[in-house]
């Protein structure tokens, strides 16, 4: 009987071998896939197992952590001025996952990032609990406060984006109405679930969780004329701010019988670029757009960052300038109507490129990632995105925009002792322009040495305001001024 016994022994060996192979398959080959499966609760348990690292503005954390007893999620996120900072931080909720910086830098904040591996190993050996690292942002607390409070005072929906033109650092990023991510950071069905559901668009038409500064595109209206002016200068169609342009008023759009109207009785006939920008002449810039054509306008818009998503690292929606328009559509698009649509960040990029002598810097909001011991792990270096304008043309455009603030529609943005350039915009929307227009203002401030510390874009959509009251200069410019002032004062 010994021969079959030996065979049975081999058979039993094969059974054990099959188990060993299978074990290697699930614990080695497939281990990472299983460990990080989105339904595997360990992923969130681990995310909340230790206090998350902080998101830092101006050296101070704008986040915190609180222990949550009676749950397998040990800590929950807390926020200081959550509603104000929500467009920057996003949220980290035990029940609803994470978004924006909280999501993108989750590895650093939880301490699970590979770059912290050595440190974690060391901690493990010395018996210390794993800690999360910090995310240091580029934001400016004073500017953010000015932006958020300005929007809040206004009361309508709106957004602000402010940049440091020379580096691309995002200084302010506000959206209103906003939400407090603390309200649903936990895991309780009644409290956190209730707060979450109240914030959803279907339950709240104001859509407070929409990050308007990055994720909403608006027709930029007259603020887009800065791009059109840049295209005219770069093309060489006009080489000076003060030369007469070839601009009939009224102007019938190319290929149509429709006249493009100006708002009110303004001196637009053959106006110089400076005057045309000062009074916001539709006829002048509409004709420039039609004359340059779709391709050249598109080319300039793209150089300013249109038609692509930007990762700050939080994704900003792509702003739109279409590529298949006839001359009259191009004319309308060139004054920021028709299909043209831009995020507030995009229009801040336009202002910042002009202010930075024509050089557009890549916008970013994460300055540095730090280990739990606040050693830097990674630092973001400023990066040039494109050069839409030559320095000479940029300076011509600057002087035009400064005239807008000094003598034109943007006078509400004046700051004593500081040179400010800007452009107002009042964008119509809705079928037959039936809905309330958006009030826009883009601007930059200049220091004594000619460099610019801040460029800003403000948009306000005000359902309640009287229609006539809405104009970029009236609603948006004061907010832009406060933001710029806050940045300048904080540099002093």
């Amino acid at each position: 009987m010994n021969k079959p016994l030996r065979r049975i022994a081999i058979f039993c060996g094969l059974l054990v071998l099959a188990l060993l192979i299978r074990d290697n398959w699930i614990q080695y080959v497939q281990a990472d896939e299983l460990r990080t499966d989105k339904n595997n609760r360990r992923v969130i348990i681990e995310r909340y197992a230790s206090p998350r690292g902080d998101i830092i503005v101006d050296g101070k954390p704008i986040t915190g952590s609180a222990e949550t007893p009676g749950s397998d999620f040990k800590f929950k996120r807390t926020y200081k001025d959550g509603a104000m900072w929500a467009p920057v931080t996003g949220y980290a909720s035990q029940a609803f996952g994470a978004s924006q910086i909280e999501n993108i830098e989750d590895g650093i904040l939880t301490g699970n990032d590979d770059r912290l591996f050595f440190r974690n190993t060391l901690d493990m050996l010395t018996g210390k609990k794993q800690q999360g690292g910090n995310v240091v942002t580029t934001l400016n607390a004073a500017a953010q406060k000015a932006a958020y409070n300005g929007l809040k005072r206004q009361g309508g929906k709106g957004a602000v984006a402010a940049l440091d033109p020379s580096t691309g650092k995002i200084l302010a990023l506000a959206s209103y109405p906003s939400y407090d991510p603390s309200s649903f950071a936990g895991n309780s069905t009644s409290k956190d679930g209730g707060a979450w559901s109240k914030l959803q668009k279907k339950n709240n038409p104001n859509d407070p969780m929409l990050n308007r500064a990055l994720r909403e595109t608006y027709p930029p209206g007259s603020t887009f004329k800065v791009v059109t002016a840049a295209a005219a200068l770069e093309d060489g169609k006009y080489t000076s701010a003060d030369a007469k342009t070839d601009s009939p008023d009224p102007w019938t759009m190319t290929g149509t019988n429709t006249e493009l109207p100006n708002e009110g009785n303004i001196p637009c006939k053959n106006a110089t670029l400076r005057v045309a920008l000062q009074y916001s002449c539709n006829t002048v810039f509409g004709k420039i757009g039609a004359d340059l054509g779709n391709d050249k306008m598109l080319d300039m818009a793209k150089k300013f960052g249109f038609d692509e998503e930007h990762f700050t690292p939080v994704r900003a929606n792509a702003s739109v300038f279409s590529d298949d328009m006839n001359p009259s559509q191009t004319a309308l698009s060139s004054i920021g109507q028709f299909n043209t649509a831009a995020t507030p960040l995009q229009m801040a990029m336009v202002a910042s490129a002009v202010a930075n002598d024509g050089k557009l810097m890549k916008p970013y909001m994460v300055d540095e990632l730090q280990s739990p011991g606040v050693d830097p792990i990674a630092k973001t270096d400023p990066e040039e995105l494109s050069q839409p304008l030559s320095p000479e043309n940029a300076q011509i455009l600057q002087s035009m925009m400064e005239t807008v603030v000094d003598k034109g529609t943007g006078s509400n943005a004046k700051i004593d002792g500081v040179k400010v350039g800007g452009k107002t915009g009042t964008a119509q929307h809705g079928v037959d322009n039936s809905e309330n227009p958006y009030a826009w203002f883009i601007s930059y401030a200049k220091g004594d040495d000619g460099s610019s510390p801040v460029a800003v874009a403000v948009v306000v959509e005000d359902d309640n305001a009287v229609r006539d009251d809405i104009s970029g200069g009236g609603l948006a410019a004061p907010i832009a001024r406060n933001v710029m002032e806050a940045v300048i004062n904080s540099k002093k």
Partner: protein, 485 residues
């Protein structure tokens, strides 16, 4: 070993070597037992430090308890089966000890404590282990020779059938998560008669096959290189097959059914040395399994959960009500293994309690996987492999056919059980409700498996025991070699 045999027959010459040489290896066993106790004690302390930052207060009593069990087992073996295999007792003790540690670790889980069915399992398991070792001692004391069991061949058959039918008795059986393999004893808890039936059946099969093996080995004709058994000899295998199918249908338990049929095929093959029986057996189990699965929704669900655990997880989460119990456990177990990775999270630091129900019994291997990692599970598998290997070696060494058959039946069944449970939890085969021997929480399983080890120890003791030493042989002087000088 009676000293009364004073035969002077020269045929005993050959065995004198054995009488002097055969070491009992009892001290080896003792040394290994020290490791088998110390390792779980360290693991226990490790869990306490990881969970509560302190050495668990029960460490001393746990260590003493496990040490006492090992000591009693060892002394019983030393006294009543001195030539028994030295590895089996330490291996079983180590597995039992590690199982206790993991069960205690899962007792500490707040998530499991919140469940309605929660009971503190570790103290009970320790009690069951004590009962198991007691049964081992009883086996060693009263079963002086395993061949005695041969006398009870047909009583064993009746007993096994009785045990198998018990869970189907109305009012006694309990349906737990779809499988009806438990009986409820009021005030005492539940019992899995199948675990004991395994041993009793092995006794019956061994006794029956030893008598019939010559007849069963007769071939009628050759077909495709196989000697086909005679038609009338197919009777026994058909009966066992039918019983297995009945278990599958009425107790809806694929594991038990597979275990019994597999054990029978292994023993039949060893008894007859006819490969054709294996072919027949495989064909019949395939037909049976597929046939029953075609109409039994419980089995179908298990197969679906095996093929696509993620879908089953989603169905369970969505609370789909379609007449069968959808369980997320298969997926949860896989996540536990995957999250453990190569080295594991460390004892006490995993989240295998997410498995919920039966985390400390049917699914206990997943906790090993998560907290001790690939390395730990491979070690556990090798420990089981070693037990099986010692069992097969016992079968090889046994001098009587009944002992050979019984040893291979028990170790084969043990191997199959480990394969079915571990394979099920790791998603290699569909999941069936069975317990991992020695490790999983469950009184029936622990007690029955200690008894199984007891019988194997007895067979190996008989096998390795030297033949009685002859008295001084007067012939020896005459056989002295006289060297010519």
């Amino acid at each position: 070993m009676s000293g009364t045999n004073t035969s002077h027959s020269p045929t005993h010459h050959t065995s004198t070597i054995g009488a002097i040489g055969a070491p009992s290896r009892r001290n080896t066993e003792l040394a290994l037992l020290v490791f088998a106790v110390v390792i779980p004690v360290f693991a226990y302390a490790n869990v306490g430090l990881a969970l509560h930052d302190s050495v668990p207060p029960g460490l001393l009593s746990y260590g003493l308890g496990l040490g006492l069990l090992a000591g009693v087992g060892h002394l019983a073996v030393r006294k009543f089966a001195p030539y028994a295999d030295p590895l089996m007792l330490p291996l079983a003790t180590l597995l039992n000890g590690l199982g206790l540690v993991i069960i205690w670790r899962l007792d500490q889980s707040e998530k499991l404590q919140a469940s309605k069915q929660f009971v503190e399992a570790a103290p009970r398991q320790l009690l069951y282990s004590a009962m198991g070792v007691a049964l081992l001692v009883v086996v060693l004391i009263f079963l002086k020779d395993h061949r005695v069991l041969q006398r009870y061949t047909y009583i064993s058959m009746a007993g096994a059938l009785f045990l198998l039918i018990l869970p189907l008795v109305p009012g006694l059986g309990a349906n737990i998560y779809g499988a009806k393999i438990w009986i409820k004893i009021p005030g005492l808890g539940t019992l899995q008669p199948g675990e004991f039936a395994k041993i009793v059946l092995a006794v019956f099969f061994a006794g029956y096959l030893m008598v019939k093996r010559d007849a069963l080995a007769l071939a009628s004709r050759r077909f495709m290189g196989l000697y086909l058994p005679r038609g009338r000899d197919l009777g026994p295998i058909l009966v066992v097959w039918a019983i297995s199918i009945l278990i599958l249908v009425f107790e809806t338990d694929l594991g038990t059914s597979l275990l019994f049929f597999g054990m029978f095929i292994i023993m039949l093959y060893v008894a007859t040395e006819r490969t054709s029986w294996i072919v027949f057996g495989l064909l019949m189990s395939a037909v049976g399994a597929v046939g029953v699965a075609s109409f039994e929704p419980h089995i179908q669900t298990r197969v679906q959960a095996w093929l696509d655990p993620a879908r089953e997880f989603a169905l369970s989460r969505a609370g789909v009500q379609d007449g069968v119990v959808h369980s997320e456990q298969a997926m949860q177990a896989l996540w536990a293994f995957g999250s453990g990775g190569t080295l594991g999270t460390g004892l006490g630091q995993g989240n295998s309690d997410l498995i919920g129900f039966a985390a400390n019994s049917d699914f206990i291997l997943a906790t090993f996987g998560e907290e001790l990692g690939l390395a730990g599970v491979m070690a556990i598998m090798l420990l089981y492999g070693l037990i099986v290997e010692r069992g097969v070696r016992t079968a090889l060494a046994a001098r009587d056919p009944f002992g050979k058959l019984l040893a291979i039946g028990l170790s084969g069944a043990f191997a199959l059980q480990v394969f079915v449970v571990a394979g099920g939890v790791m998603g290699l085969i569909p999941l069936t409700g069975m317990t991992l021997p020695f490790v999983a929480y469950g009184g029936s399983s622990v007690i029955a498996n200690w008894a199984l080890i007891g019988i194997l120890l007895r067979i190996s003791d008989t096998a390795r025991r030297p033949a009685p030493a002859p008295a001084a042989n007067p012939d020896a002087e005459m056989t002295q070699v006289v060297r010519p000088s």
